[in-house]
Subunit: 347 residues, 2 copies
């Protein structure tokens, strides 16, 4: 049985930071990485939360992620820049890059910063919300290891390539879109394979590129992109921006976070748009609120609740900040064995 | 029977420009509008081609589109700007805005120009390719009249909200994505309704928000967005950027091109990213070529041909530039009656 225990957020943060510090991560960077992990857990995106800490640490131990990387802006030209993450933490690169994009947006109205030679950066909306909290629209893209077959082909080459766009609201809950380009995450198919259930048509293709309801066959095949040819195209564009524009790596060459055979060679794009360069910020927020209320007042299918992008995550974060964060017993066990190995206090 | 006649492109261009000039459109603007229409026809996007000319003219005649609008940059701040199209042609606004975004990208590395109080601008990739042809990545968004119900609701509020992103290649055919946020265009459902065929599940919802295969019920309902909740979110983001950031109109308020009860109040976003601010342009193009070849060498489902985004349209354009543009007899008839009314030479 794998039930959960509720933890105070500060306890989890201290735990994460302490482990990271032991691996040589600088104080401020340990905080950034920890904030990103806890942000994911608070918002219910468990797969990018503290459960990932052992995976990151393993990458450090295997020498395929540099915890002390000295990141450097290789290009820095007016409203754009290119940050070389030098195989350091994606979270540290992401934070630096989004902050730089925001600075540029303040000066030029928009800022766009590419990152090369980076690693998995966790939850994309952590960065888009940094911009949102400063009255900017935050846009974040990253590419990922092959999972989606380009339209019409049998072989995964494109990543799920998530994007996040965060838009500030006034009194209403802000709009925070955070989505991948596949209909579902591979995790859902893995889960179905474990439990022996069928998956719906429309989730995955088998190794021959045919739609399948068999999760085992699906895992040998590829994830179906949203809208078929459309999601395939969008995923390719994200790949081009994150991989080729940043001079990181070509489509299909990003390593999975669990593949410790070498640096993951990930690229990201961070963009901030300064709302006040276009429209009075209060007017913008009033109008966003009006649109949110308009959507929420529409007739619902089957009288279900209607949610705007990011609303469920926002509500969950609020609840968890108050009540604490649930961590599953098997995750606690793994984290505690990590703690013992690094000589820090157990959870 | 509605077969087609092949026309020389210059003849069609002259025809379109002559009609537009008669309505008071300036010479240079008549050229831009014409280029956009012919671009759509060349690339096989008939719905945005010369068949639309009578619809635009009708808007002028009904006083809901100003052919002589004096467009003006209301805001112009470093890398961003906001153009007030003053209810003029979307094509003219789009051309001005993308050119301004490209100028800014040359100076600042990136440029983003919003347009407000505009109209239908035709084919989005016409503008993204302007940037592409100058070694930039062109990004274009527009919102549209309600067609998609926000996820979980029964009522169309969001537009199909197309985006286009164009990326230059070296020797290979460039990547030109041009897509709406619905699984299919409403035109396909209208066609099925006319021919009495069923539509596949996954295209549309009925008025109660339930999936339907009945095209009549679908037309009373809404178009399903790509990836369901994901496409709904993406469409909302496009709406926010094009409508609220530009101070054009709120989500759900854009008028359809055929609705002559008032100005359409459309907004657009044009963005150009200067590739050379990030990476040597030749290296970028070499890598794009490598990725295109990689995709095209993948094993195909059922040994079909594999196409990259924009490839089919590129090939069609090449063929039609050589052989001429097919125009259906009933379209010729409508265009000729327009010609007679405005006293210009018939097709």
């Amino acid at each position: 049985m794998n039930d959960s225990l509720l933890y105070d957020i500060d306890i989890l943060k201290d735990f994460s930071a302490n482990i990271l510090l032991k691996t040589g991560v600088e104080n401020q960077n340990a905080e950034i990485i920890t904030e990103s992990l806890i942000c994911a857990d608070l918002r219910g995106v468990k797969s990018h939360g503290i459960v990932r800490l052992p995976t990151y640490i393993e990458r450090i131990e295997k020498g395929v992620l540099d915890p002390c990387a000295k990141m450097e802006f290789e290009k820095n030209f007016a409203a754009v820049a290119l940050l070389n993450a030098r195989n350091g933490f994606g979270q540290v690169a992401g934070y630096m890059a989004m902050k730089a994009a925001m600075d540029k947006a303040g000066t030029y109205g928009i800022g766009m910063v590419g990152v090369r030679n980076s690693n998995h950066f966790g939850i994309a909306s952590y960065y888009s919300m940094l911009a949102m909290n400063e009255n900017m629209i935050g846009i974040v893209l990253t590419h990922a290891s092959p999972a989606i077959a380009p339209y019409g082909t049998k072989k995964p080459l494109l990543g799920t390539n998530p994007i996040s766009i965060a838009v500030p609201a006034g009194k209403e809950i802000p709009i925070v879109l955070d989505m991948s380009m596949s209909v579902v995450a591979r995790g859902k198919i893995r889960y179905a394979a474990l439990t022996g259930e069928e998956i719906p048509f429309g989730w995955a293709l088998d190794a021959e590129g045919k739609p399948t309801t068999n999760p085992q066959e699906a895992l040998k095949g590829s994830l179906i992109p949203i809208g078929g040819v459309k999601g395939s195209g969008l995923s390719l564009i994200v790949d081009i921006l994150c991989g080729i524009l940043t001079d990181s790596c070509l489509t299909g060459e990003v390593k999975n976070i669990t593949d410790t055979n070498g640096p993951s060679n990930t690229g990201h794009i961070f963009c901030a748009v300064n709302i006040s360069s276009f429209i009075d910020v209060e007017r913008f927020k009033t109008n966003i609120d009006a649109v949110i209320r308009k959507i929420k007042s529409l007739p619902a299918i089957d009288n279900n609740d209607i949610y705007t992008p990011g609303e469920i995550e926002h509500n969950l974060e609020k609840k968890r900040r108050k009540e604490g964060l649930p961590v599953e017993r098997d995750v606690i066990k793994t984290l505690n064995s990590l703690a013992e190995r690094y000589g820090v206090a157990r959870l």
